[in-house]
């Protein structure tokens, strides 16, 4: 049913339909509305789940780890510092092959402290072993949670999945969202049956000490599973389309790519703004397009190659930094084309929208303007040079 909903409410409603048995979370802006709504749903008896209020994100992640190990579908949500505090457990959940689903209300990292949206938190944990999806709008954010459970719990995969939605922009924004029925969700996502779990009838040891004799193979297997996930995601999104009538690629999405000469690569809600700019520029005859990355992990190398190999000029938007090196997404897009005969003439890298600074249509137009044949490296858009002139002396009295 179509409803006019805040992003957090839409996610909470979809999680309710996924019927997790254990939910655990610790409050952090801008994740709070999601877990508040779930707490209310449980309190009202609309969802039979244990809602565990914990004393930190580290424990929230540990609680869902324990619940998932006991064979029960589990859910948590966090953001920013919370995700970093979870970090150790986040790696652990993936290594233990537990299909937890987590929403990350993607937000900047301190210092300086900032509660607004960029991608630094999620991108900093890209190596943790989780599948990492980035949503463009509220409908996609809601739908990706269904895909997340279906993918993570597949017996050939058994991986945790993080659904990233831009903090405030998507968590607090309001859109018309199609919330599926319970029957539809049950058809798509059957009850979770764990292939291994903590079971007194069949005792097993989870999380053993693994020495150099076996460790490499455990990590190799985890890496291989990401490749298998790349192949499975389009099949799951095809199933999704059959049940819910909405079509996603799940890995990447091209917009006006066919004859495009200049293409921006981006993740998350900024893709909506970019599409609008493309529509405007196309009316003026400019051959511009967008490649949206939905799945940062697994990284769809071949799909990206096919989508961009004939494009002349590419610009990658990063909303996070790898301080002291190339911007993270730009480095990976460039790596796709390393040593390839067919490749864009220029792959430029732009940093934009850190700590909630608005990315306006003008910001995007500026990027298209700067996409000349000469590659730009980590160029900041909308930087305020006057703020960089302040010195310690001026601020101390």
């Amino acid at each position: 049913m179509k409803e006019f909903l805040e992003g957090s409410m839409a996610v909470a409603k979809v999680i309710q339909l996924c019927k997790p048995g254990v939910i655990s979370a610790y409050p952090i802006t801008p994740q709070t509305h999601i877990v508040e709504e779930l707490a209310q749903i449980v309190a009202d008896g609309h969802l039979n789940a244990q809602f565990v209020n914990v004393e930190s994100e580290h424990s929230a992640a540990s609680v869902v780890l324990g619940a998932s190990a006991a064979g029960v579908r589990a859910y948590t949500a966090t953001s920013s510092q919370g995700l970093l505090l979870m970090g150790e457990v986040v790696f652990n959940i993936a290594g233990m092959r537990l299909p937890v689903v987590m929403t990350t209300a993607v937000r900047a990292i301190s210092a300086p402290i900032n509660i607004w949206n960029d991608h630094q938190d999620a991108v900093s944990l890209r190596d943790a072993g989780w599948v990492q999806f980035h949503a463009e709008d509220i409908q996609e954010a809601a739908d990706l949670h269904l895909i997340a459970y279906k993918l993570g719990e597949d017996k050939s995969i058994m991986l945790p999945v993080m659904v990233c939605m831009d903090g405030f922009i998507l968590t607090h924004g309001v859109e018309t969202v199609d919330i599926p029925t319970q029957e539809e969700v049950d058809k798509f996502l059957p009850a979770y049956k764990a292939p291994y779990k903590l079971d007194v009838e069949n005792p097993m040891t989870l999380g053993p000490l693994v020495d150099p004799e076996y460790y490499t193979e455990a990590r190799y297997a985890l890496n291989e599973t990401h490749k298998e996930a790349l192949a499975l995601i389009p099949k799951i999104t095809a199933d999704f389309a059959k049940v819910f009538g909405r079509t996603y690629n799940g890995l990447i999405e091209g917009y006006q790519l066919k004859d495009a000469e200049r293409v921006i690569v981006a993740m998350g809600s900024v893709c909506g703004t970019i599409k609008e700019v493309i529509d405007e520029l196309r009316k003026k005859g400019k051959k511009v397009g967008l490649l949206k990355i939905t799945s940062l992990r697994p990284f769809p190398v071949n799909q990206i190659y096919e989508a961009l190999k004939n494009i002349s000029k590419v610009a990658v938007i990063d909303r996070a930094l790898s301080l002291g090196s190339f911007a993270p997404l730009s480095a990976e897009i460039k790596a796709v084309f390393f040593g390839k005969a067919k490749k864009p003439k220029a792959i430029s890298s732009f940093i934009v929208g850190l700590g909630g600074r608005d990315i306006t249509k003008n910001s995007i137009k500026e990027i298209f303007r700067l996409m000349t044949g000469k590659e730009k490296q980590g160029e900041f858009i909308d930087l305020k040079p006057e703020l960089l002139k302040e010195s310690y002396e001026q601020n101390t009295l």
Partner: protein, 294 residues
């Protein structure tokens, strides 16, 4: 069929008090038990892949989160309607309990989960090489509280973990010692018969870290109790309900058995300070036999 749920073949050191206590605990708990274990000696020596000593479902995640992992397991059991028929035990060493795991433990106790938390207290980070923890005793010589011209060892007494646990208003707190195996098993069974969060702290000598002969583990543990340095007590619903009474021996008898206290033997002033700790315990908990009979 093995008689124990904690099988031999693990790689604990000779004379390890923790391995003895772990077996006593799980055998008292029985097969309908799930164990969540922090990183530490116990997990390392009992679960080296592809072998395991554990005859019950066992999960190790990280150094500091067994209380939270166990909370997740217990919540899952509640969801499955199995919470009343399956015990959940969270267990850790003293560092994993009193230091890095204290926050997760406090959360678990405060939330009221039906979990027995067991701290195996060997009084330092033995797995990483005998560094001091919040449960290392006063004046103990460890690798991070070494003796020197300006140091007589660890500068602080043990963190009062049983009291900290008790302050959470939980129904049962007990200390125990590997020197008294039947007492450990009685307390485990009692704890598991009570609904809600329970805390047990078991004194387990580490011959390597304490530097005593490997055949003296039980004798050394016994002396800790008999000197008043390791009171065996039980709190039920916040009230001191039971204690093991002693005819106190001088602390020197305990200290002289271990290399970690060797430097104190020619330092009467420091021995006096340790004796004061024992005397305060004896007074605080009423440990002296004569007090009970008077």
């Amino acid at each position: 069929m093995s008689k124990t749920l904690f099988n031999s073949g693990h790689t604990a050191c000779a004379g390890c008090g923790q391995s003895l206590a772990a077996r006593l605990v799980i055998d008292a708990a029985g097969p309908n038990t799930i164990v969540a274990n922090n990183t530490g000696c116990l997990e390392v020596f009992s679960t080296k892949y592809p072998e395991t000593s554990w005859g019950v479902p066992f999960i190790h995640s990280l150094f500091e989160n067994c209380a939270a992992v166990a909370s997740g397991v217990e919540s899952a059991l509640k969801y499955l309607g199995k919470a009343d028929s399956i015990n959940v035990i969270a267990q850790a060493g003293d560092g994993g309990t009193a230091d890095i795991g204290l926050q997760a433990l406090s959360g678990m106790l405060e939330r009221g989960h039906n979990i027995l938390y067991v701290c195996y207290d060997n009084e330092a980070y033995m797995n990483t090489g005998i560094q001091r923890s919040g449960l290392t005793p006063f004046d103990s010589n460890t690798t991070t509280s070494p003796i020197g011209v300006k140091s007589t060892g660890n500068i602080r007494p043990k963190k009062p973990m049983p009291e900290i646990a008790n302050a959470h208003g939980i129904p049962y707190v007990a200390t125990a010692s590997v020197a008294f195996p039947q007492d450990i098993q009685r307390k485990v069974k009692k704890a598991l018969s009570i609904k809600g969060p329970k805390y047990m702290q078991i004194h387990v000598p580490c011959p390597l870290g304490w530097r005593h002969e490997t055949n003296l583990t039980i004798a050394v543990a016994k002396l800790a109790v008999e000197t008043g340095l390791y009171p065996l007590i039980e709190y039920e619903n916040g009230i001191l309900a039971a204690k093991r009474q002693i005819t106190p021996k001088p602390v020197e008898e305990y200290l002289k058995t271990q290399g970690r206290f060797k430097h104190l033997l020619k330092n009467p002033d420091e021995i006096k300070k340790v004796q004061e700790i024992a005397d305060n315990n004896i007074k605080k908990y009423g440990l002296k036999v004569s007090e009970a009979t008077n």
